[in-house]
Symmetry: C2
Subunit: 252 residues, 2 copies
DNA sequence: TAGTGGTCTAGACCACCAC
DNA sequence: TGGTGGTCTAGACCACTAC
């Protein structure tokens, strides 16, 4: 196999991460095997050791690789997480990655001032409107995610907000749309995680038994400037997807 | 106010983080204010700019600080999270941090081969025993966390396992105990997050209405060598605590 | 003792932003 | 244009582990 080497253009660290990841996933570096020492990789990739160290640091953070001081760097034995909760992506992609055909059904769409809690989270002034859409995401036709999105009119722009009211599929997938059509990239989101029963959900016409347990995530998306650009209530029945997370031990 | 400067001994980056954090929390750098440029901090602390950058990078990851390319670094406006789900600590400390008096009640303790799923997660051989303890954590006397811990006998050592069977409070708080008495530090844990109803819980004598919604976390703790050293089923009623998390947008 | 990862430096150059 | 953060380098020295 021809082993790639970084090309100038994107960040050298990112390229190095990609190459190492590819080697791990393809088995060039087998599970539990030791990686070549950093100075060797630096020589092979023709970059400095600092660059290699940053790249390996990224992999270590993701749990792909394990460093042992004075010994070496090893491919992790822990299998990769399925749905890492600390990483967010558009639901359609998430469903597709799970091997199912994604779909969306819009249950209700309106353009109005949102409820006070949501307005506060989005830093809206009284009277400012937002597009609120209740969606059901399906996997192979089965409903798997119930979601209430609220996006301020000033984020969408008035023409797009009006248009989306008639054609709600325009604003899906949300992250992509906000980036492409509004120039607003979601950098991170603040999530609150709880449990709920179907009967308590803020979702119209929920086709579930009233005491079905649901994972309930309420989150607000922010741009790199910390401007809130969307709010979301999300309900996940256990049957379809569970989330996983690597938690670090901390000392306070 | 006398501004501290790093001292050699601990990592320069860690010291720098601590000092910057202190300045932020004490208001030397007010909310939304701009930090001095990196080269200034480097000169002030008498370290290289790379060291300063690493330190600021740590703060940026924690959401304490916001970097703007070509502009500067600013103190974040987003308030600090209450219970960041990606950080784990002993429940007693978590409850105490919430301003309540922590307590633990042991409902059931046994030393036996665990159920197959748990044995597999802990890489136990058939017949190997583990200490399984069902605990209720209380805050000001109110039950707020239900937890089923399983720790292999070979991790505890036979004497301690036998002793803990009679005096279960010996193994609490778990992280501390494993570190102090067994020399096994929990480095990270792999968690699966779901919703559940009280009636489905693997917990004896749960004093809750059968359809109470609970956040259900199943996790396995690992040492730095990736050896699994404990397993845990945890149930959180919403009423007491909710978890929060910063999720990053990813591209795949 | 040899080899590994961990820390730190001094300096170069680039990309972005405001004026 | 000047100042900021973003990237990268070459090299030094330390700390840890295995033999």
């Amino acid at each position: 196999m021809a082993l790639r080497t970084p090309v100038r253009g994107a960040s050298l660290v990112e390229q190095t991460v990609a190459i190492l990841l590819e080697r791990i996933n393809s088995g060039v570096y087998a599970r539990a095997a030791q990686l070549p020492p950093e100075h060797m990789l630096a020589a092979e990739f023709n970059v400095s050791r600092a660059t290699i160290r940053s790249a390996i640091g990224v992999l270590a953070e993701r749990g792909m690789v394990l460093r042992r001081h004075g010994v070496g760097t090893f491919v992790s034995q822990i299998p990769r997480l399925a749905n890492p909760l600390n990483e967010a992506e558009d639901f359609s992609y998430m469903i597709a990655r799970g091997g199912c055909a994604p779909g969306v059904r819009f249950v209700q769409v309106e353009l109005a001032p949102p409820e006070p809690a949501v307005a506060a989270a989005l830093a809206l002034l009284p009277g400012q409107r937002a597009l609120r859409s209740c969606k059901v995401f399906t996997a192979d036709g089965e409903p798997v995610i119930f979601c209430v999105n609220t996006v301020p009119e000033h984020v969408l722009g008035e023409p797009l907000a009006a248009e989306a009211l008639r054609e709600p599929q325009l604003i899906e997938p949300l992250f992509d749309m906000l980036e492409r059509r509004c120039g607003r990239r979601t950098q991170h989101q603040l999530a609150k995680i709880r449990a709920a029963r179907a009967r308590e959900c803020r979702f119209p016409e929920l086709a579930l038994a009233p005491d079905t347990p649901l994972l309930f995530i309420e989150e607000v998306g922010f741009t790199a400037d910390e401007a809130p650009i969307w709010h979301s209530y999300e309900y996940f029945p256990n049957s379809f997807m569970t989330f996983e997370l690597v938690r670090e031990r901390v000392r306070r």
